[in-house]
Amino acid sequence: MKALENVEYKATSNACKLCSPLGASLVFRGIEKSVPLLHGSQGCSTYIRRYLISHFNEPVDIASSNFTEETAVFGGSANLILAVQNIIKQYDPKFIGVATTCLSETIGDDVPMILSDYHKKNSGTKSPLIVSVSTPSYSGTHIDGFHGAVKAAVNSISAKEDLEAKHINLFPGMLSPADYRHIKEIFKDFGADHVMLPDYSQTLDGPLWSEYQKIPEGGTSIKQIISMGSAVASIEFGRILAEDESAGKLLQNRFKVPCHSLGLPIGVNETDVFFDAISKITGKPVPEKYIGERGRLIDSYVDGHKYVFEARAVVYGEEDLVVGLASFLSEIGVIPVLCATGGKSGHLKNKLCQVVEDFESRGIVTLEGVDFVDIGDAAKKLSPDFLIGNSKGYKTARELNRPLIRVGFPIHDRMGGARILHIGYKGAQQLFDTISNTIIASRQDASPVGYTYM
């Protein structure tokens, strides 16, 4: 055991990331009549289900091909086919999204080939569309799995069919059901047709059932995904994603659908860019309603600016979300003193420079590929006023004795994670009010007087 001398390796303690099949499962849950299937051991799918359930509070059925010891040795094709057949028998889906796990990747199962064999043997029978995506977790996080699944769906089924089509494609990234609903509302108010992938606004945030539903209603339909090749343009959210070979770029290369890569529309600046883009593509002006929303938002910025000015925030989470939040925070005068993520694209700092004014001179600390112990250590030195990110930062916030403003995913220690609105003027309004009120509340609590008027 001589080779062990190198002690540079460090464990990850309290990870600020999840694994890729989780992201892929989420996308497959946002496709109509679809069932996600993880090709690997039972545990991965059960843990991922449990995790998603605690955030969304909705049934999340994710099947597993259920490796055994023999599968691990002899390959997983028989299990995969059996799983597909059983899903068809039980759920009668129109779509099955297969995501690999570390295990099936490592033994080298050729999932596309197994599936195409299956299709050949079953041609003629009414079988669902099956799309697979490679999601080895040892080379990416849940966000990679998310974007990978979107791209896989587009790659395998989009086509250029309808030359008269007028719709816009939207690739929103991993947002909340409330965000998705808001995007749909915006397009509707613009009078612009759109196809959004994924769309789990209903499948993961629906009403109680009057009768049993094997697969909850909602989601992007297969027809819509096919039509994405005929769109007039694509919009994708995420400045980090912009560096990727994304679904939007695939459509641009293959079908000449122009792709607009925007930041996540959090805050006035980035939301303006989004509205401009729709305006430009459709030739229609921004609807009055949003001019009103924007006006009221800025009015509130002015009313509240003193409370938030130069407040110091620790921001963490998925890279694109961090960039979006940092952009918003800096436009209201909050300094995002620490921007941290478990992801490791290598683009975080560069993208932050684009949205945060005086990035360099403010000494903002950017950390990629870190865990919550690293974040806590860095934050301690920066005396933040609050933290903003998902529930996983709670322990750190508690140790620092600072409030945590919950956004993003996962939220599993509060109600309503699925209902948090981050984007658009309306989302910025909610974030602004929450942040100002959090700061006001901490000052009020700390004050010996306890003023009741502002």
């Binding site: 055991m1 080779a3 062990l4 190198n6 002690v7 390796y9 460090k10 464990a11 990850t12 303690s13 309290n14 990870a15 990331k17 999840l18 694994c19 099949p21 989780l22 690997g40 051991s41 039972q42 545990g43 991965c44 799918s45 059960t46 843990y47 991922i48 289900r49 449990r50 359930i53 605690s54 509070n57 909705e58 049934p59 999340v60 099947a63 597993s64 091909s65 259920n66 010891e69 599968t71 691990a72 995969l80 059996l82 799983a83 059983n86 039980q90 759920y91 295990l103 490592t106 033994i107 977790s137 040892y138 080379s139 996080t141 109680l208 059932w209 009057s210 009768e211 049993y212 094997k214």
Partner: protein, 450 residues
């Protein structure tokens, strides 16, 4: 309404009492594609060892297994909180190709230096089993270098079911048992085994035994400490809760140290009282222990009876579905539910064996459905058909109940409410009551089936 069909391969894992001959199949690997509610071997190991609060728990594998199990258990510690951290070697592609031993070694050494734990558990997950890291020899080496027990836990997810994980955990712990001094341990002493101190339950139970005049040498693994485990072989009796998780350790201790064990349950008035009496009976040469047990039972029941009666009145005739991990828990739940006037219409577990299901059949009323390793579709189907008003399960079952407009109580390791002992029974009844009687169900559109 969409009909829910049962997969052919699963038909024998479902039994309708009173309608067919008992010929139930169980203890099978879950069927591919059936959306089992079960987790994996690793899950079993993690559940059992998690509460050992002064040990380092390092999960060797890619990040997922560690991320999803970060602090999800409700096991409390009265001291160190190291168990609530989630450590992972976070293997990357090059580790998969070249092996993860170096990374494991480096991570272990650094973590031990930083946190000074009294022992370390290294959980081997699926991928580690596959790439063939020699986890045992890395552990042995670090153990020699750092002077603490460093124990491999062979919990590769695909190598079996959750039960195999329990076994792996017991094997790891058995390495620590017997390494400490037993000096000063009273002959009137026990170990509490298979109790995980969810929401402080072990403290409640330990208090009863101490009031009976018994010394509790160690709790496995609730509020666990390495030092206590080391000397646990000095106890006269092992009291094992729950059939599944830790009987194996009790068996090992019986073989190695000749310590007898008895099985008990702490849920519900009936089982709790029986547990205290059974333990007292073991020490029959000391009749004062039985006397004290009787006093405890009388006092405690007197305390909770008035409030309990009120709930019973409100809950009488309501129907419950129970689907939890271990079968033993189902038995206790059925008794506890009956004591508040409720009927059980669906009962099942993830890991029951043939004997468990036989016993379950005997306990259940005609018309009850018994399921092994069920999935969301089956659970929904029988809840609807049987008109359940309440579902008892874990977080994964919660949305199934809620979507159908059915009350729900968490009875898993994730809960934050103590359900053990007499005070726990009251908590349980209160929770069932507050769920079943909540006015919100009136808004549920599907309530026509109740």
């Amino acid at each position: 309404m969409a009909t829910i069909a049962i997969l052919k391969e699963r038909e024998k894992q479902i039994y309708h009492k009173g309608e067919q001959a008992f010929d139930m199949t169980c203890e099978k690997k879950s069927l591919a594609g059936s959306v089992s509610q079960r987790a994996c071997v690793f899950c079993g190991s993690r559940v059992v060892l998690y509460p050992i609060a002064d040990a380092l728990h390092l999960i060797h594998g890619p990040i997922g297994c560690a991320s999803y199990t970060w602090d999800i258990r409700g096991a409390l510690s009265s001291g160190p909180q190291l168990h609530r951290m989630s450590f992972s070697t976070d293997l990357k592609e090059k580790d998969i190709i070249f092996g993860g031993e170096k990374k494991l070694y480096g991570s272990l050494v650094r973590l031990i230096d930083k946190y000074s734990p009294n022992a370390a558990f290294v959980y081997a997950t699926c991928i580690v089993g596959l790439i063939g890291d020699d986890v045992d020899s890395v552990c042995k080496r670090v153990s020699d270098e750092k002077g603490i027990p460093v124990l491999p836990v062979h919990s590769e997810g695909f190598k079996g079911t959750k039960k195999d994980g329990y076994k792996a955990a017991c094997e790891a712990m058995a390495e620590i048992v017997g390494t400490g001094s037993t000096e000063g341990i009273s002959p009137l002493s026990i170990n509490i085994i298979g109790e995980f101190n969810i929401a402080g339950e072990a403290w409640t139970i330990q208090d009863y035994y101490e009031r009976m005049g018994l010394e509790v040498v160690s709790v496995f693994t609730g509020d666990g400490r390495v030092e206590r485990i080391k000397r646990s072989h000095g106890a006269s009796l092992n009291v094992v809760q729950c059939s599944g998780s830790m009987t194996y350790l009790a068996e090992i201790m019986n073989k190695r140290y000749g310590i007898p064990y008895i099985r008990v349950s702490y849920f519900g008035i009936e089982d709790m009282s029986k547990a205290l009496y059974d333990v007292a009976e073991h020490f029959e040469d000391h009749p004062s222990i039985m006397e004290k047990a009787q006093n405890i039972v009388r006092e405690e029941i007197e305390n909770i009876q008035p409030e309990l009666k009120r709930y019973k009145k409100a809950l009488s005739g309501k129907k419950a579905a129970v689907y939890v991990g271990g079968a033993f828990k189902v038995f206790s739940m059925i008794k506890a539910l009956r004591s508040v006037g409720m009927d059980v219409v669906l009962a099942g577990s993830q890991t029951g064996n043939r004997d468990d299901y036989k016993l379950l059949r005997e306990m259940c009323d005609d018309g009850t459905v018994i399921v092994d390793d069920a999935n969301p579709l089956e659970l929904s189907k029988y809840c609807i058909e049987k008109g359940a008003d309440l579902f008892i399960g874990g977080v994964k079952e919660r949305p199934i109940a809620y979507k159908l407009g059915i009350g729900f109580c968490d009875h898993n390791h994730e809960r934050k409410l103590s359900l053990a002992g007499y005070s726990g029974m009251l908590n349980f009844a209160r929770e069932v009551y507050s769920s079943v009687k909540s006015p919100v169900w009136k808004f549920a559109p599907g309530k026509k089936f109740s």
